[in-house]
Symmetry: C2
Subunit: 232 residues, 2 copies
């Protein structure tokens, strides 16, 4: 336990990555405040997974905010565009932004986390961004996170008074999916609680075919860990 | 008319400042997309003013997003804390953050503007921040805006492709309230449409006593322009 009085806001979608981040924040002894978003996404089932994970780690508080990203549009995750299935992950097109990219999503999520961190006087925000699997997402790169952190420290009361310096921790940023799964498994995370699928069915079961499901399957295989996911 | 094909997202609260910014963006020939927020604020009357101003300038589109800032709290504008009245504006306490400051508000608003700008392929966001009257608000300073702009250009598709460089324009940043009013008056803005009050009554009439009303009254007096506001 690093410092039991330290508070952290953890962005938790209920997926494999952010659930592992919650396990890491927990293992570092933070008081955890999980923040999830209902952004008119089709995969509301993720929020059910997020609740299970927050409960599993007995966090201080779990807030789910309704944010109207759907009104802005521009993504297969919020619009009625078909989620791509069975794409060849080993040959992604260089520099192409995936159709599942939601405009400025991480910026909006981190902004809410920043607001809550200020109210809680928490000095840390955890986010599960990862450059390995999501190389096409501009807001998953370290240079973006560093720029956000710099802006955040100018944006808030604490930034002006110099009382607290806000840190944004990205423990997964350079890990492969297999390494993430190994890490979470070491920390006793029950991955059957999580949901990482762009197109689950009405009972919240993963499709097994979208990019996210394929990456997950591959990751469990490479990690040598049994995949507890129940597919459709 | 600078460039009639240029699109801009304009953050419009319906107050004096952001309405003047809308007038400025209009005078510069932008296609205007106004963005307003319903953030559980007590002054929903502002949104009615925002609609009137957007309509006055015949903008391309006006979106009002529901954003759950109230769940986060920490401000007299979203919590049930009494708005301060009849404070002495000439003797503000140095480095004190006003109780009306909403945590990370401009960061959240600019993040949504960024998302919309990306979808619209707009290269400009206008925001009516001002260091003169709101020196206590950390997220109204130029260094904060510059840091946001830097982050924004790393956050988005266009930032990665280098196709568009996003600019955040702050035409009011170093103007006094009187200078803002003179500018808007030159541009034929009808200030009777606007509402700048932290505590309006049920009919949307300004209180005349909060900091915002006092600054507005003083500004009209100094500008030598008749204040068209109907006070309670």
């Amino acid at each position: 336990m690093a410092n039991p009085d330290k508070k952290a806001v953890v962005l938790l979608s209920g997926g494999l990555d952010s659930s592992t981040v919650t396990a890491i924040a927990h293992s570092e002894g933070y008081k955890i405040y999980c923040l999830s978003f209902n952004y008119d996404q089709r995969n509301v089932a993720e929020l059910i997974a997020a609740k299970k994970v927050a409960s599993f780690f007995n966090v201080e508080q779990h807030s789910i905010l309704d944010v109207g990203l759907g009104k802005i549009g521009g993504s297969a995750l919020t619009d009625n565009i078909k989620v791509p299935k069975n794409q060849n992950l080993d040959h992604p097109i260089k520099n192409e932004i995936p159709i599942t990219y939601v405009p400025a999503r991480n910026t909006i999520f981190l902004s809410y986390a920043l607001a809550w961190a200020e109210v809680l006087e928490a000095d840390t925000i955890f986010i599960g961004v990862n450059v390995m699997d999501y190389s096409g997402y501009p807001d998953c790169r370290q240079e973006y996170i560093t720029a956000f952190e710099n802006m955040a420290n100018l944006a808030t009361k604490t930034g002006v008074t110099g009382k607290t310096i806000l840190k944004i921790k990205t423990p997964l940023i350079s890990l492969s999916k297999a390494q993430i799964i190994k890490k979470g498994t070491e920390l006793n995370l029950d991955y059957s609680l999580t949901l990482s699928c762009y197109d689950p069915d009405s009972e919240g079961r993963a499709c097994g075919e979208c990019d996210s499901c394929q990456q997950k399957k591959k990751g469990f295989k490479e990690a040598g860990v049994k995949d507890p996911t129940i597919y459709q």
